[in-house]
């Protein structure tokens, strides 16, 4: 048992995590015919809280509550994973990435997120504006415009052989590559790293 707990506390390899995520697709389908997708939950929050008579948000969100229950579960799972099954070691990151990030001023590997960026102290600074406010806005706006995110398009969409989802996924990656290799360095300098 102790060995099992020890094992479960290690970071899980991709060949465990990936297939388990893939199994969420049939689990949701068999549970209630639900298509796996997470960014919709953001839309349902809009429909619940600020529909403002906008046609895009005037629908019966009560039928979509399963999606909200699911993402609350994801947050609880995050809490459990972090507090009860936490990996005691520092996060292992590729050396080449560590070198690249050191050049940008990121060297703190104590948690899954760098403390140089993701703290409340940064909220009302240019760093917070870039990483929380602008970053979050791009994620919310872009996923809805694209009609889905990594779960809805890349995993559910490609799994069910939808070619528009392949297109969407290619452009998710294109945006990410451009941000990482072209904009991220200058932007981080600009906000004081």
């Amino acid at each position: 048992m102790e060995q099992f707990i020890e094992w479960i506390k290690q970071p899980w390899p991709w060949w465990i995590a990936g297939p388990m995520i893939g199994l969420v697709v049939p689990t949701l389908l068999i549970a209630g015919g639900k298509a796996f997708g997470i960014s919709s939950s953001l839309r349902h929050v809009c429909a619940m809280c600020v529909p403002a008579n906008i046609p895009f948000f005037t629908y019966d969100w009560k039928k979509e509550l399963w999606n909200i229950a699911f993402v609350i579960g994801v947050a609880i799972g995050g809490f459990i994973g972090h507090n009860l099954l936490a990996n005691p070691e520092m996060i292992e990151v590729a050396e080449s990435t560590q070198r690249d990030l050191a050049a940008l001023g990121i060297t703190d590997y104590r948690s899954i997120m760098p403390h140089e960026i993701f703290t409340w102290e940064n909220l009302f600074t240019a760093k917070g504006l870039l990483f929380f406010v602008i970053g979050g806005f791009l994620v919310g706006f872009g996923t809805r415009y694209a009609g889905g995110c990594t779960s809805g398009h890349a995993i559910m969409g490609i799994s069910s052989l939808q070619w528009p989802s392949v297109v969407a996924t290619i452009f998710f990656m294109a945006g990410g590559f451009l941000m990482t290799h072209v904009f991220l360095g200058p932007l981080m300098k600009l906000v004081g790293f």
């Binding site: 991709w14 995590a17 297939p19 893939g22 689990t27 549970a31 209630g32 015919g33 639900k34 298509a35 997470i38 960014s39 919709s40 629908y59 509550l65 399963w66 999606n67 229950a69 609350i72 579960g73 994801v74 947050a75 609880i76 995050g78 809490f79 994973g81 990151v93 990435t97 690249d100 899954i112 997120m113 760098p114 993701f118 990483f131 929380f132 406010v133 979050g136 806005f137 791009l138 994620v139 706006f141 872009g142 415009y145 694209a146 009609g147 889905g148 890349a154 995993i155 559910m156 969409g157 939808q162 969407a168 998710f172 990656m173 294109a174 945006g175 990410g176 941000m179 990482t180 904009f183």
Partner: protein
Amino acid sequence: MGTAVKKGEKPNVGTTPNKEQKGDGPLELLMYLIIGVGFGIIFIKAEIVSWFRIQEMFRLQSFFMYGVIGSAIVVGALSIQVIKWFNIKTIKGDKIIITDKEFRKGQIIGGFIFGLGWALTGACPGPLFAQIGSGFTVILVTLISAVAGTWVYGRFSDKFPN
């Protein structure tokens, strides 16, 4: 994403919730919550929600995230084929229907915009929730901002090319 769009719907409405589908009762919601908990634990334990993993991925310096997403797609695709071959029903006995997605310009433009945000936040919408749960509560601000972004898209959805 939620339920997929049905054919013949207004193109700029994006993926519209399925009108025929009934709402879920408390027990069913609890079931989805529990599935979500499992998903959140995988997210944290495989460190998929880490900003560092997303940086490794976009810098092509680790195979990890490609392995995760690739194997998830393979398992998801095989599962869907099994459901189709054996005509597996939902636990309530309903037929499982997967609606087709229609191609729109939004998948290109919106997808690209999401990609920019993905590399900044190190998170797609799912990991945002897990990051908050794992104690990075400041990500709540990112989440609220993502809801705002979704709202702005919805408010002006007829103004954007699609």
